[in-house]
């Protein structure tokens, strides 16, 4: 049972602050970098070098009305975005913070995967509750996409779990003492990158919110505060994705640089996601599903079997 002492409460406040700041400043960095890639400036006007732009955006979002569409399911409409963000924060609480972790578990990787697997249900609820054609198409797309790529995510993590013999993040990191899993398991790394981008619904796989077709996909009816909350959740998911990328494949905090090196790795992961957002174009839904079921899933199985063979012959 969790004991609510003062450190937990302070930690929770700091965690929330970190979530907000990460969302604000990685969002700003994303806009700046993508602007530069497009030969633009990005935001420059609000504050020095546009540093307060996302703060201004947040204030603007919060000033707006709590608008619920006429035929929407009121309760579900209000609850679903909050619950989505809650899931993201729950993910954050399972990740270790230095030597401190909110919820210590032997199976934290498994629990994280379980929580990620919950998100399509809530997205479907959100899309159903908003009762609009764009939302429903976007929601169905989100669910098909996430279901297709969750398998890929699990298949990419399976070999790591078999090699390190544990579901805990710390042990997977300590198993990478000699070499990073990025080099010993390159295909798993590739699968993980694709799967994570698809699950966080970021740019090359952003079919659920394809602006040119579906307004904002399943986010269409969510305005103002709801949208801000969902955006916060999505940026926290981005953080979790980069955290897992750095922890599972880039050696985590194991190397000589410790936690600073780990922070740099997480930042590099974020940069990879941002640049791939600026570079690649959106796929069609059938191409997306073909790519998952016909290419990535068989590749994942083959990679898994191969790494099993290598592990058991070396034992």
């Amino acid at each position: 049972m969790a004991v609510f002492d003062i450190t937990i409460i302070i930690g929770a406040v700091l965690l929330t602050l970190f979530g907000g700041l990460f969302a604000a400043y990685i969002g700003l960095l994303e806009r700046k970098l993508i602007g530069r890639i497009h030969s633009r400036y990005g935001p420059t006007m609000v504050g020095p070098y546009g540093l307060l732009q996302t703060v201004a955006d947040a204030i603007k979002f919060m000033q707006k009305d709590f608008f619920v569409p006429k035929r929407a399911d009121k309760l579900l409409f209000i609850v679903s975005p909050v619950f989505l963000t809650f899931l993201s924060f729950l993910l954050l609480s399972y990740l270790p913070w230095g030597n401190f972790s909110f919820i210590v578990s032997q199976y934290d990787l498994l629990i994280i995967l379980g929580i990620v697997a919950l998100s399509p249900v809530i997205i479907l609820v959100a899309a159903w509750a908003s009762n609009s054609k764009y939302s429903s198409i976007g929601g169905l797309r989100a669910v098909t996409q996430i279901l297709a790529y969750e398998g890929v995510l699990f298949l990419s993590i399976l070999p790591l779990v078999f090699i390190s013999g544990s579901f805990s993040l710390a042990e997977i990191i300590s198993a990478q003492k000699n070499y990073w899993f990025m080099f010993s398991e390159p295909f798993a790394f590739l699968l993980f990158l694709f799967a994570v981008i698809a699950i966080t619904e970021r740019q090359p796989f952003d079919l659920p919110e394809a602006e040119s077709e579906l307004v904002q996909g399943w986010l269409t009816e969510f305005g103002g505060p709801f949208f801000a909350v969902i955006l916060l959740g999505q940026y926290i998911m981005l953080y979790v994705a980069s955290f897992l990328l750095a922890a599972l494949f880039l050696g985590g905090w194991g190397g000589a640089f410790g936690w600073i090196g780990f922070a740099v790795k997480v930042f590099a992961g974020v940069l990879v996601f941002i640049i791939s957002r600026a570079t690649y174009f959106r796929m069609r839904l059938d191409q997306l599903l073909d790519f998952s079921w016909k290419f990535l899933v068989p590749l994942g199985f083959a990679n898994f079997l191969l790494s099993l063979l290598i592990v058991y012959t070396s034992l």
Binding site: L33, R36, S39, R40, Y41, T44, I275, T279, Y280
Partner: protein, 177 residues
């Protein structure tokens, strides 16, 4: 082979995009920065009262009838003989062209046909022409005189006699702050 090519370009494009982060932005932040206007640019007309001889050739040559002759003292139109007859005697020699920018197509015929040296009506690099009302686009000659412009600009215009020459191709990305 075809798939290998796709994979190659898939990876290459990532690094191309990453390289572009260090490129200078091409944006011209308009109210702060202004683009360099090339020579021979045909913008708004400038009318000089000291050289104009009231010949009204600009009014006759204007293909869209954007130019009207005005009597500067009273502000009355003085296009037709009937309108001139209502003016005080000797007003014919004091008429000056005014331009309706709602009609003007910036062809530069008026400047070309102007017989005086320096040209009394000339198209200069003035491009901020927006007004609040439609009426505001009809400019009497006083509005177009160089006195209404900032001093440096006016001196520059008065120093250059005309700009109807073969324009130099120098439309570039250069910025002038």
């Amino acid at each position: 082979m075809e798939y290998l090519k796709i994979v190659f370009y898939f990876i290459l494009s990532f690094f191309t995009a990453a390289k572009n982060i260090f490129r200078k932005p091409a944006t011209i932040q308009y109210p702060k920065e202004r683009p360099k206007i090339p020579e021979g640019w045909r913008g708004r007309e400038v009318v000089r009262s000291d050289t104009c001889i009231s010949c009204a050739r600009c009014m006759f040559v204007c293909p869209v009838e954007a130019i009207d002759m005005y009597h500067p003292e009273t502000g009355a139109l003085a296009n037709t003989p009937a309108q001139i007859a209502e003016l005080p005697p000797g007003a014919v020699g004091h008429r000056m062209p005014g331009v309706d920018l709602g009609r003007c197509i910036f062809c530069g015929y008026c400047e070309e046909i102007c017989p005086t040296t320096p040209k009394s009506i000339a198209l200069k690099d003035i491009y901020e022409l927006a007004t609040i009302e439609h009426k505001g686009l009809r400019h009497p000659p006083q509005d177009l005189s160089p006195d209404k412009l900032p001093k440096e600009k006016a001196e520059e215009y008065l120093a250059h006699d005309t700009n109807v020459k073969a324009p130099k191709e120098q439309w570039t990305r250069q910025k002038r702050v």
